[in-house]
Symmetry: C2
Subunit: 259 residues, 2 copies
């Protein structure tokens, strides 16, 4: 499965980088490779700081080690994935997060991933509907949308603020039905539906007018986003525990946030 | 002990608020009371957003409940404390954090607290020396400085960045030697030495010139500070788990941070 996962992830990531650069216009992603500890793998950050994308990161990583970090397993592990976040200049354009991961331990292997949308104060019904409908249609052939949507609802939640992080999306973890080919199809269906889910929203929103108050609201909501990523996010925990590159792990944090 | 702890905390807090307002000049602290869940206690936030203190919070809380949050105990608990943070407008002036707490569970009760200094890129030897020497002199009568200083070194540490949060200070937790009167003296000695440790630094630094690059460095280092407070800080964890007021718990976060 490792081979198939890697073969999908790399061109998938390039397609997203290309689509974002097209939307941005002039600026392009800055790529920074990094190696993991003593050289057991590594990754590449790609960060865009532009006029449309105030900050976007589309990262690839592939690491292995002797001791699985956290409580999901023990002993040697292998993990690879693409992880993505956007923080848009325009408050009308929501933040989006997406990731696809494949993980192996001696006892088991699994696929994981998903994407979710976080409006920065503007909840447009047509945007929410389009985003979720795209995910729903992608997962319809597998009958998995309700399940994955519910998992997103539970995962992307800030208990201390008693609110969901945004409008949700789809999320799955430890996914392994025993049918690797079918599982990969599900994983890829999530990946393939990501750009169709988000690009139309950005095309609609990135040129809308906004006020200073609306910018201030966006920065406060980015603070809530940072709270989630630093306090609850499993990727951050895994990254810190595994001794990963802090700059790569924290690429997801907003360019500016206020409290 | 509860009575003695409370009797110390309230005027202690007012003294700090007064000292900070004097340094600030015109602006004063905005006070916001809050109640805990169904009314088992509560607290008061006091937040100053001024020209010298870009943001300072000096909070008091007193809460009790049926189930102790976290792993330090179980069953009913009582917790009271003063917690303080500053984020200075001038990057030459370091961030300081201080807290004093008293906690009771059915099995045990303890005192906790400390203070630590986080320079925003400018490490002035004379400032570090004054800050630590003041703590050292306060704890000399008890022979506890080395111990508490070492605990601060270990606690105020960002493993993912492999660096200390700042230059440290003093920190102690679960402090109960079985001699309540002596323990209270130690606790109060930490409290009494706080203003003498920090005020002279602020008097020296708040009017120094700084550049845009230095401001940018301050905002990046504030990002690291937010990482500590959201990912590692015991107070944040306790606060979230106990269902405390998120605004009060997160008062410590910087007014603006960048990543």
């Amino acid at each position: 499965m490792k081979k198939e996962a890697l073969a999908y992830l790399k061109p998938f990531r390039e397609k997203i980088i290309h689509a974002f650069e097209e939307l941005e216009g002039e600026e392009s992603f800055a790529r920074t490779p990094w190696t993991y500890r003593s050289g057991e793998g590594g990754g590449e950050m790609a960060v865009l700081r532009g006029k449309v994308f105030e900050k976007a990161a589309v990262n690839f990583s592939e690491v292995s080690g002797e001791v699985f970090p956290g409580s999901d397993g023990k002993g040697p592990f292998y993990a690879t994935g693409v992880s993505l976040i956007t923080h848009m200049a325009n408050p009308h354009a929501p933040t989006v997060h997406m990731n696809l991961r494949y993980i192996e331990t001696p006892e088991k292997s699994w696929l994981a991933g998903g994407y979710d949308l976080t409006p920065m104060g503007f909840f447009y019904d047509e945007d929410t509907a389009h985003f979720l409908k795209t995910a729903e249609e992608a997962l319809a052939p597998f009958g998995l949308y309700e399940d994955f949507h519910q998992q997103a609802k539970e995962y992307f939640y800030l208990p201390h603020r008693k609110k969901e992080r945004g409008i949700g999306g789809v999320f799955f973890d430890h996914y392994n039905t025993g049918q690797p080919d079918e599982d990969l199809k599900v994983w890829k269906a999530v990946g393939e539906s990501f750009l169709p889910a988000i690009i139309p929203l950005y095309q609609r929103r990135i040129d809308q007018d906004f006020s200073e108050e609306e910018r201030a609201m966006q920065l406060r909501l980015r603070g809530h986003y940072a709270e989630f990523n630093l306090h609850y996010d499993r990727g951050t925990k895994f990254g810190f525990l595994s001794g990963g590159n802090p700059e790569a792990i924290l690429c997801s944090l907003p360019p500016v946030a206020t409290w």
